[in-house]
């Protein structure tokens, strides 16, 4: 197991390095010139040269790349072009906020979608199955933005059940987060339940299910003890690989509800050409994605004894 993990970690190095090269080349060649964007049309050649020097953009590209990799490797991530704040401070502050937006509905969504999908699988072919298919496919067809705008208008502005937008640190944030949580659960319910229903239905047709019924097991026992456990591999893949993106938050949600998370920071960085934030975050997400892929593979071995890590 240890050897496997070490080998996988070593494999990550070229992947992350490749991502870093790609990101750097893209930003250096086709991205906005951050100096010109910052200085605008009034800029004198001296001002342009000064700022280019301050941001290290007057160095040759290979040297800039070395600086970029060094900053990632040492976790001294540098500073935002816009605010001058340290990226470590920005990311730490924003990631915690983003997690408070995404983790609760993520966990609720897992429980809810497994329960509903099992229920639908249990009543497969019935009016419930058809009705839910209609509702969930319909809900998946509506843009995320429409949910946000509509829910904000109806439940926050008109009905006054929630604050329209805003955020406060700590437990005081909960009133501000309730509506975003509800929207995330509603939006993710459709695709989650559709995927799980398919997975569960595939399992219901497996030989071991027929055998379990033949041995006299009840519907509930077959559903929860046999089908649920055997369906875990695709379920794990589906959810664990989405964990890194929880840190990124929900871009639109944070934007519309004025929640100062990483997602909102990222949108601002795109709008203002804050290259350090964009480049660093992209590479960090690549690292996180690789790590959670590894975690998924390790978990396979725990949920399915047939899987051996070697």
């Amino acid at each position: 197991m240890t050897a496997y993990i070490l080998r996988r970690l070593l494999h990550m190095i070229p992947i992350v390095f490749g991502v870093a090269v790609l990101v750097f080349v893209l930003f250096a060649t086709v991205g906005e010139d951050p100096v010109r964007t910052a200085l605008g049309s009034h800029a004198t050649p001296e001002a342009i040269a000064d700022l280019r020097s301050r941001w290290g953009l007057d160095k040759p590209l290979p040297m800039q790349f070395v600086d970029f990799v060094r900053r990632i490797a040492t976790f001294d991530l540098g500073e935002s072009y816009n605010s001058g704040e340290k990226l470590t401070v920005i990311f730490k502050r924003g990631a915690l906020v983003s997690l408070s937006v995404t983790v609760p509905p993520f966990l609720v969504g897992i429980v809810l979608s497994i329960a509903v999908a099992l229920l639908i699988a249990y009543f497969r072919g019935s009016w419930l199955d058809h009705y839910s298919t209609f509702v969930f496919v319909g809900s998946m067809s509506v843009s995320y933005l429409v949910y946000i705008i509509t829910f904000q208008y109806v439940f926050a502005f008109r009905l006054d059940w929630f604050p329209i937008s805003g955020y406060e640190p700590g437990l005081a944030s909960i009133p501000y987060l309730l509506l975003p949580w509800i929207i995330i659960v509603v939006v993710s319910a459709g695709p989650d339940i559709r995927v799980l229903r398919t997975v569960f239905l595939d399992e219901t047709r497996a030989d071991y299910v027929r055998t379990a019924f033949a041995k006299g097991a009840g519907e509930g026992r077959v559903l929860f003890k046999h089908i649920l456990k055997n369906a875990m591999i695709p379920v794990l893949t589906y959810w664990v690989t989405s964990v890194p993106f929880l840190i990124l938050g929900a871009f639109l949600m944070e934007r519309f509800f004025s929640i100062p998370g990483i997602g909102d920071t990222l949108i601002n960085a795109v709008n203002t050409g804050d290259r350090p934030i964009l480049m660093t975050l992209t590479v960090l997400i690549a690292i996180a994605y690789s790590l959670f892929n590894l975690l998924t593979d390790i978990l396979y071995a725990y949920v399915d004894p047939r899987v051996k890590l070697s």
């Binding site: 605010s83 208008y153 109806v154 008109r158």
Partner: protein, 598 residues
């Protein structure tokens, strides 16, 4: 059972939607326990609160309220005029015509801060002014706004160069600026490089705010988050991504103006005349970047003042005639609206070095006749603009309101005639004309479609290149473009700032992106540049406007109108294009009573 459950769920959802349509959303002014708290949304995150390090409106919004400048713009008088702020009087011109005497207001104190001995703010002296001007010129501090003072004060450019070669952290006391002579604690002589009355305008700009040396040294790299000023407010909560809270500086020196324009007294805008500023206890500035939640919060009463964007403008405002707008019912029942002409000029610039458009005046004139600016304003801006006959926006002295000059009006027949005169009857043989745009937004694309359609109707084929801002600047500054969509926002409210856009010595990479060169225009510009406004100066402007019209280096389009909505309980609201955040003048009625919002 399950079927029943679904039935209830569906019914509950439907009931919620119906309930929402039936009204509700009772607006409430927050109960602030008798304190006056002004609430206004910030639309973008500020970059830094170090005055010399910023040059963006989001930062200026806060800096302008916690720091002070030597001069400021009068809140009520128009055209915009400078008045003393930290100075006791306007700078007095000396006999040589280039030296000004600055006399500092006495008794102004910095706010209390750990940066000062004992944590108690001290009195402002002329040393702070000299220090702040030098710091503004420090190349390691100010990379963005030095252009405001470049070539203005004797010796300041050399000082900047010295900071550049010295490296970060130069001791300013080790090098004097020849044009700054300290007389005593409250008086300073400033020598300008020439007889330039425009040199006073930068003294009202937020990057030129006055800072305390002790605070800069105490906070070091964190100075940009810890403002220590003499302004009307004190920063008490600095949540960059959340709510910024400013509290009243009870020792502030300023008072509300007692004079304004005609009609101001009747409108109650002079009721607070002579009262000590600021008029509210706190200002809360939550960051709300999206339009919908900001407008919903405004309609709930949770914001006191809010700008109107295009979508809300269509829904809430109607244009009565060219100069008159009103809120539609039911919004007119609950809110008030103010609007102001922005100090902007939008135009289409031709590259005069281009072998096609630059060398064919009749072709440029054909395009000027083909574009219906009035229709563009009506359709694309919903009336939120005014067409221009000169390059100077209407509110600035020397605009078409002061001079009699005609300009192209939409006339497709004349456009076709000019096109034929240009050698392309019906557009035959005319190559595609390339328009460069400075962004890739939906609005830019829609705007171009309007232009493309109108030009095509007379036989001119236009092709658009939508570029990133930096790519656009690179093209324009290298002269590698044919036609560019451009605009200018006043650095200061003087016509010179707009006529310089076509002065030949300001060619690329300067602001004269057209590379327009006309000897008569240049001569008139140089003669009028530093003149006082009046008939003589306006006569020169008139001739310059005629040259622009006849030679068509640019097609003038419009200056925009800026709209704001505010609650009925808010007082002293006046649109002010040179001060985005005049919060010290705003007041709140007390107690607040609100009716139901729409």
């Amino acid at each position: 059972m399950i079927r029943r459950w679904f039935g209830w769920a569906t019914a509950a959802l439907a009931a919620a939607v119906l309930l929402s349509c039936a009204g509700g959303g009772e607006p409430q002014r927050p109960d602030d326990g008798g304190r006056k708290i002004l609430r206004i949304a910030r639309r973008t995150e500020y970059k830094t609160l170090d005055p010399a390090g910023q040059f963006d409106s989001a930062s200026a919004e806060i800096i302008g309220n916690v720091y002070d400048t030597l001069l400021e713009y009068h809140y009520l008088k128009r055209p915009y005029q400078l008045v003393p702020n930290l100075l006791a009087t306007m700078p007095e011109k000396q006999a040589d015509g280039v030296t000004y005497l600055f006399t500092l207001r006495r008794g102004v104190r910095f706010i209390d801060s750990p940066a000062f001995p004992g944590g108690v703010g001290r009195e402002l002296t002329i040393d702070d002014i000299i220090y702040s001007i030098k710091r503004f010129a420090d190349a390691h501090v100010n990379a963005k706004s030095y252009i405001l003072m470049q070539g203005v004060i004797v010796g300041l450019d050399e000082f900047r160069e010295a900071t550049r070669t010295h490296g970060k952290g130069m001791d300013y006391a080790s090098r004097d600026v020849a044009g700054l002579r300290r007389i005593d604690d409250h008086r300073l002589e400033v020598r300008f490089t020439g007889p330039n009355p425009l040199a006073l305008y930068p003294l009202a700009a937020t990057p030129m705010s006055i800072v305390a040396r002790e605070a800069v040294e105490h906070y070091g790299d964190d100075f940009g988050s810890n403002p220590v000023g003499t302004g009307p407010f004190v920063l008490v909560q600095n949540d960059r991504r959340g709510t910024v809270v400013l509290a009243k500086n009870r020792d502030y020196h300023g008072s509300y103006p007692s004079e304004g324009e005609s009609g101001h007294r009747e409108a109650g805008l002079l009721d607070a005349g002579g009262r000590q500023l600021p008029l509210v206890d706190e200002v809360h500035l939550p960051l709300i970047e999206e339009s919908q939640p900001a407008m919903l919060r405004f309609r709930k009463g949770a914001l006191d003042l809010h700008t109107v964007d295009r979508d809300n403008f269509i829904k809430m405002v109607e244009r009565l005639d060219a100069d008159s707008f009103r809120l539609k019912p039911p919004y007119s029942e609950y809110f008030r609206m103010s609007w102001e002409e922005a100090l902007t000029c939008e135009y289409i610039a031709f590259n005069m070095r281009d072998p096609l458009v630059g060398k064919n005046r009749a072709l440029r004139q054909a395009m000027a006749y083909a574009l219906d600016v009035e229709e563009y304003i009506k359709i694309m801006l919903n009336g939120r603009g005014e067409s221009l006959a000169t390059i100077v926006p209407h509110p600035i002295a020397g605009s078409e309101r002061d001079i009699d000059v005609s300009y192209y009006r939409y006339d497709p027949e004349k456009a076709r005639a000019k096109l034929a005169e240009a050698g392309y009857p019906g557009g035959e043989g005319l190559p595609d004309i390339y328009f460069d745009f400075r962004s890739t937004t939906k609005e830019m694309r829609q705007g171009f479609e309007f232009i493309r359609y109108q030009l095509a109707s007379v036989g001119i084929r236009a092709v658009a290149r939508f570029l990133t801002f930096s790519a656009y600047l690179q093209r324009v500054e290298s002269g590698n473009f044919q036609v560019g969509s451009s605009g200018w926002f006043a650095d200061y409210p003087d016509a010179e700032n707009f006529y310089q856009l076509l002065y030949s010595k300001n060619g690329p990479p300067g602001p004269n992106m057209s590379s327009f060169a006309d000897a008569e225009y240049d001569r008139l510009y140089e003669e009028s540049r530093f003149m006082e406004n009046g008939p003589e100066r306006f006569a020169k402007f008139k001739r310059m406007a005629e040259i622009i019209r006849d030679e068509v280096p640019v097609i003038l389009r419009f200056n925009q109108l800026a709209f704001s909505l505010y609650q009925k309980w808010l007082r002293n609201v006046v649109g002010h294009m040179m001060n985005d955040a005049p919060y010290k003048y705003l007041d709140l009625e007390q107690p607040a009573v609100r009716e139901e919002a729409p």
